[in-house]
Amino acid sequence: MKTLLRSNELSCPSCIKKIERSLKALDGVSEATVHFTTGRIEVEHDPERVGPEALVEAVRSAGYNSRVAPF
């Protein structure tokens, strides 16, 4: 399942890798892509093993607030 997160706090392109790897470290996440220019975070995950709230939490512990967005 594809979930889209949006964050207003991305300040430096170096945060891209950090967020992506934090998300991919979660069990059930197969793909995570952070777009620095637009603040979009695309996550491909198995909803049975990890839900959208857990994704938001992972991004938060990486240091950034985010929210789930429909588009």
Partner: protein, 639 residues
């Protein structure tokens, strides 16, 4: 207590709180050391400042390490920690404070460049009222199923794409269509998510929901464009990938070789290429976002770059320079005609009724054109229909490029060029030719109408020049487009009038689609960066062959929009010079930013190695350069 806990959990708030605290502690320390206050407190206060700011940086460094990523936070943590270790509390405090402050300001300012789309995103409705089981239920807009009916009250935003099945209202659709005036919508009318109902109530059956709505697709297109890298960015990203490890290596080497711990730590502080990596992206986001606000959809960073380099521009005539809606404008009667049974009366502009002769010319022509698909047929038939019902011709034959011949009862009708009349053996008088020429010089497409071997009259069909076409051409010249041409399949005389009115440099007429393509290629061979503006399906090859294909949005077909680099959402030609101007401005900002970034990176590196730059200074210059570059990008939002 609970309030504090919530503060701590919110990364942004926490960072801001720690920045302020750290700054206050530094201030207190300086006051203690140099002014009022116990001198002995200066050092511990400074250490406290470093620890306060450093805690946030260290925790981020830790979460980064857990994700197996060496980030700038780790470098700053080591540098600050090392500075504390060798007793340099001021350096540690200044570096951590400046890093936090910089990060907060950068995040905030970067967010301003993303804000152009916030406007569109905020138009996305929060909730929808859907009819289920006879009751009104409030749900999130994505939860509406296709085929369900939603109710939209006055002042509310339409939550889905769909069709009106009940009610009537005036609707503000400018976010989606670029139309600034509100549009009346009644049963059967299509509506878009994001449009606002001004007065009246609508019941809408959903066809597109959530990510499938036009609004969502526009946002997605703009965001994908903002995410696409300009060519120079790929090079910079590759450079950035090895810059940080290289600095770490350099720092370790310098420390080991010279034994100068401070030098090694200072190198770590500048271990992030900072301004260089966001130099181009910030400009691209702001430039494309600003353009989108103005109804100009640029497909991506690379397209933006080319659009800023345009030196020649070719415009299609029909539908681009002109409205694309031909209208019957003249009916000239040349000889008396057999009366048509049962007709109404058309009145001229002065209120006087049209003479019977003119009515007959029109109605006979309409009969012949009644079954034709030709672009001239519709305006003729529509105008005649106002006189009364138009019967279908019995038998119609098209002579390609020349006209149409048809039979009705005992009569034979012909509508077309002098060439057609010649083919049919019908004499075309000098008077008729004079009328033809007069109409053509006026920019009309003119055709003769003949009944049973005799010329009845002449019809003039006009496709009017778009308002603002001339202004747009002049505007393009002002932004530096040196050569502007009109390309058309239409005939020379008709096209010449339009070309003259628009003010283009050159005119190429009677072109087949392949020939339009050839002209584009020729311009490119002459060294121009060529833009082609068009809308129809026949323009797609030329749009693709040009350096920059520009499609007129609302009027354009899907094929043209997909092939083009730039889509003008409305039909306003005035956006053309604006699109070029914005692209040029964005390119300028990218170049300025890259210059600042490069100067800073090399300057800092040399400065640190030469020993002229200390940790605090290095961090200050680094953060200032990043802020400068982002603010320069923000300027584009007001371009």
């Amino acid at each position: 207590m609970r309030h504090l806990k919530r503060l701590w959990r919110d990364p942004a708030r926490r960072r801001l709180a720690l920045t302020v605290s750290s700054g206050a502690l530094i201030g207190a320390s300086l006051m203690a050391g140099h002014g009022p206050g116990p001198e002995a407190a200066a050092y511990p206060l400074m250490v406290a400042a470093a620890l306060v700011a450093g805690s946030d940086i260290a925790s981020r460094a830790w979460s980064s390490l857990r994700a197996r990523h060496v980030g700038i936070e780790l470098l700053v943590t080591i540098a600050a920690g090392g500075a504390l270790f060798i007793g340099e509390a001021w350096e540690a405090a200044a570096v951590t404070f400046l890093f936090l402050l910089g990060a907060t300001l950068e995040a905030h300012t970067m967010e301003r460049t993303r804000r152009t789309l916030r406007g569109l995103l905020e138009l996305a409705p929060e909730s929808a009222v859907v009819l289920r089981g006879g009751r009104q239920v409030e749900v999130p807009p994505q939860a509406v199923a296709r085929g369900e009916v939603v109710i939209v009250r006055p002042g509310a935003t339409i939550p889905v794409d769909g069709v009106v099945v009940g009610g009537r209202a005036s609707v503000d659709e400018h976010a989606v269509t670029g139309e600034s005036l509100a549009v009346e919508k009644g049963t059967g009318a299509p509506v878009y998510a994001g449009a606002i109902v001004q007065d009246g109530l609508l019941r809408v059956q959903a066809e597109g929901v959530g990510a499938e709505t036009t609004l969502a697709r526009i946002i997605r297109r703009v965001e994908e464009a903002q995410e696409e890298r300009v060519p120079v960015q790929r090079f910079i990203d590759r450079f950035a990938r090895w810059y940080t490890p290289a600095i770490i290596g350099l720092s370790a080497a310098a420390g080991a070789l010279t034994g100068d711990v401070r030098l090694a730590l200072t190198l770590l502080v500048i271990g992030c290429p900072g301004a260089l990596v966001i130099a181009a992206p910030v400009a691209v986001v702001a430039g494309i976002g600003r353009a989108a606000q103005r109804g100009i959809l640029i497909k991506g960073g690379a397209h933006l770059e080319r659009a800023g380099e345009i030196t020649a521009l070719a415009l299609d005539k029909t539908g681009t320079l002109t409205e694309g809606r031909p209208r019957l404008t003249e009916v000239v009667a040349l000889s008396p005609a057999p009366a048509f049974a049962g007709g109404g009366a058309l009145t001229g502009a002065d209120g006087s009724p049209w003479g019977a002769a003119r009515q007959e010319v029109l109605r006979w022509a309409a009969v012949a054109e009644s079954g034709s698909e030709h672009p001239l047929a519709r305006p003729i038939v529509e105008a005649a229909a106002e006189l009364g019902p138009v019967p279908q011709a019995e038998d119609a034959r098209i002579s390609a490029g020349r006209g149409i011949t048809a039979t009705y009862g005992d009569h034979t009708i012909a509508v077309g060029t002098p060439g057609l009349m010649e083919e049919l053996g019908i004499e075309v008088s000098g008077e008729a030719r004079a009328v033809l020429e007069r109409l053509r010089r006026g920019g009309r497409t003119a055709v003769l109408v003949a009944l049973d071997g005799l010329i009845l009259g002449v019809l003039g069909v006009a496709d009017t020049l778009r308002a603002g076409a001339r202004g747009a051409v002049e505007g393009l010249r002002r932004v530096g487009v040196r050569r502007i041409e009109m390309l058309t399949g239409d005939n020379l005389q008709t096209a010449r009038a339009i070309a003259g009115a628009a003010g283009v440099d050159a005119l190429h007429t009677e072109l087949l689609p392949d020939e339009k393509l050839a002209r584009i290629r020729e311009l490119r061979r002459e060294g121009h960066v060529v833009a082609m503006v068009g809308d129809g399906i026949n323009d797609a090859p030329a749009l693709a062959a040009a350096d920059v294909g520009i499609a007129m949005g609302a009027a354009g077909t899907d094929v043209a929009i997909e092939t083009a680099s730039v889509a003008l959402m409305g039909d306003d030609l005035g956006r053309l010079p604006e699109a070029v101007r914005l692209s040029r401005a964005t390119l300028r900002v990218i170049r300025q930013n890259l210059a600042v970034a490069l100067l800073t990176v090399t300057g800092l590196l040399l400065g640190v190695l030469a020993g002229h730059v200390d940790m605090a200074g290095g961090m200050l210059v680094h953060q200032l350069s990043v802020l400068l570059v982002v603010l320069n990008g923000v300027r584009l939002l007001r371009a």
